[in-house]
Amino acid sequence: MALKTETMVLNMGPQHPSTHGVLRLELELEGEVIVNVKPHIGYLHRCFEKHAEVMTYPQVIPYTDRMDYLASMSNNFGYVVAVEKLLGIQVPDRVQYIRVIMAELQRIASHLVALGTNGLDIGAFTPFLYLFRDREHILSLFEMTCGARLLYNYMWVGGLSHDIHPDFVRLTKEFVNYFRPTITELNNLLTFNKIFIERTANIGILPLDTAINFGATGPVLRGSGLAFDLRREDPYSIYDRFNFEIPTGKGLVGTIGDCWDRYYVRVLEMEQSLRIIEQAIDPIPEGDVQSAIPKRVKPPKGTVYSRTENPRGELGYFIISDGNVNPFRIKVRGPSFVNLELMGELCKGHLVADVIAILGSIDIVLGEVDR
């Protein structure tokens, strides 16, 4: 007669030792092995989409900052591109170049947090602090330009809020030269460390067809082997003028699509961002960054869906306008929200200690999941 067994339900509560935010994971265990994981979200819901219905178009921009608070420039970028498409205006070249540089710097900063906290969850305390020290350089570049370190409100509809500081070009070049050796140091300390490889290789393997079926985007999809990047597929702004490669997971120390691949894709993406910054920093044309900003943003009736490449995946804005100064409806497709669904699929058959490694490699930000 077979033994009747029940699975045990364990709750990883809203308060985590790791720094992802307020997320509740309900684990169903059979002994030590996981049978199912159900994420419960909504602890950080702040009604962004409802707020946007009563604000004017420029007033929504500080609210978009606060969705994915680790990559504010990219959020601004996505929204501004969407509204400009709706209005049908063209922004001057100077604005485009500066926007691309800011977005790539933001991508590096966001990946630094992702890699640092990934290491911290696995138990390596030092790389976290080294990466945050490098992030300070980027944040001081941003502070010099627009005055804030985390939530910028920098990219406006039709232009930028401030022109760049006279020292910005020189300091960015210094930063690029400073940052390349630190990526090598990170590789020595963490990426190719045998213990880190043991903890992350062959864990949370995501086959490519599952990734596409779930709608995963960003480094999660690229880690499974597909070179899909919105800056190449559907170029927005002036990304088609730059040379850069799209790193994918190749299963160097495990199988294609495991946690180590997703981690390594982010490290390589930082290098590619440095390449883009180097190509964009010299030919910035002259001009006025505020010349194309309309007096009142009143788009004609219509809808637009525009998507940009956030450091975490595809960030989409769907805006319905009915001719007023307030948008009728803004819907945001947050990449972390869609990627979080993969948790149930990836954790099956692994031990409890691997759940944290997998969660760190998917890299969610609760502000974007809950909006």
Binding site: G123, F125, T126, N193, I195, E198, R199, L351, A353
Partner: protein, 355 residues
């Protein structure tokens, strides 16, 4: 030491008590120093400063923490087993402290001159396992119990490679007594065991690589016995279970911390005695050159403590460099990698000793 004190006081009990208290005083002072040292080392490795405000560069920080812990309310959960809960930290500390009885700090300062030194140390360290299991069980918390069982399994498994390497060293030197082992590695560093031992000959050079392998194995296993990263599953906020001392507050928790740092020093001490010459200095004694032989035991004590602190520093260095191992990987490292290497090492050293 006991003889010396007995001659002075003429009373057995007082002499015995004072001999027993000396390592206790040493442990307390060492823990005060070690906690500050760890915080400063970790801070400078991470490009930051560490404690700076309490005392000069934060030296009094541990004292401040200690005073804070003394004044905390002693909370015991209602469903917890009160007797076991209170005894567990005492047992853990007693196990760590009792090992100091056989460790020679210098040629004159030895707690008790037992002939079976190293055997006694390994045996009494196992008392710690009983204390940990008691702590986990009496907390009445299923996560504490899980953490305690994992920690107990870890300590018991890693005692095997330690014992195998110690056995090979015992074969080499022919004695179990730690004091005699230190004395055999006479006062020049090329006579230390890591470089093959005091007897000069062909066998000495043949032994050197195997000595290094033995040193590595025993260092890694003792890291695991002390629950330091990369083997610190029971200690760190290990993902979701919080280890066997979750439910402890105030002084009881301080006892666990005391015993951890005491353990760290005692295993470093064992390693220096086995491989690095114990209390012998690498360059000869100032007392000899100055013609004051009474100075020599003090110098030996200083050298011994310095070597111990160096190995404690290497333990801290490893903690801040490496990520954590998962529990099953920890067991794989022990049973599939360390034990085979230790066995082969043992056999080869035995063969060479016969030559």
């Amino acid at each position: 030491m006991y003889q010396f004190l007995f001659n002075i006081t003429g009373n057995e009990i007082i002499a015995g008590l004072i001999t027993a208290c000396i390592p206790l005083v040493f442990i307390l002072i060492f823990v005060l120093f070690a906690v500050w040292f760890e915080r400063k080392v970790s801070a400078h490795m991470q490009d930051r400063l560490g404690p700076m405000r309490v005392g000069w560069h934060g030296v009094l920080q541990t004292v401040a923490d200690f005073v804070k812990m003394l004044q905390k309310e002693d909370i015991i959960a209602t469903e917890a087993d009160r007797k076991l809960f209170s005894i567990a930290p005492v047992l853990v500390f007693a196990g760590s402290f009792a090992a100091y009885a056989a460790i020679p700090f210098s040629s004159k300062l030895l707690g008790s001159e037992v002939e079976v030194g190293i055997f006694y140390v390994i045996a009494i360290s196992s008392l710690v396992v009983a204390g940990i299991l008691m702590a986990g069980w009496s907390s009445n918390n299923k996560y504490s119990l899980l953490g305690a069982m994992r920690s107990a399994a870890q300590i018991v498994s890693y005692e095997i490679p330690t014992a195998l390497v110690v056995l090979s060293m015992v074969m080499l030197t022919g004695t179990l007594s730690l004091d005699k082992m230190s004395q055999m590695q006479t006062a020049h560093f090329w006579d230390w065991n890591i470089f093959g031992g005091p007897t000069f000959g062909f066998a000495k050079f043949l032994l050197i690589p195997f000595m290094f392998v033995g040193f590595l194995i025993v260092y890694i296993s003792t890291l695991a016995e002390v629950n330091r990263t990369p083997f610190d599953i029971p200690e760190a906020e290990s993902e979701l279970v919080a280890g066997y001392f979750t439910e402890y507050v105030g002084m009881k928790w301080a006892m666990f911390m005391l015993s951890e740092y005491a353990n760290m020093f005692s295993v470093s001490a064992i390693i220096t005695i086995l491989f690095f010459g114990g209390y012998q200095s690498p360059v000869g004694y100032l007392g000899n050159t100055l013609g004051a032989p009474a100075l020599i035991p003090f110098e030996q004590g200083i050298w011994f403590i310095a070597k111990g602190i160096f190995f404690v520093f290497v333990q801290m260095w490893l903690r801040w460099t490496l990520p954590r191992l998962r529990v099953d990987q920890l067991m794989t490292v022990c049973w599939k990698y360390l034990i085979p290497y230790a066995f082969i090492n043992l056999i080869i050293i035995g063969i060479i000793t016969l030559l």
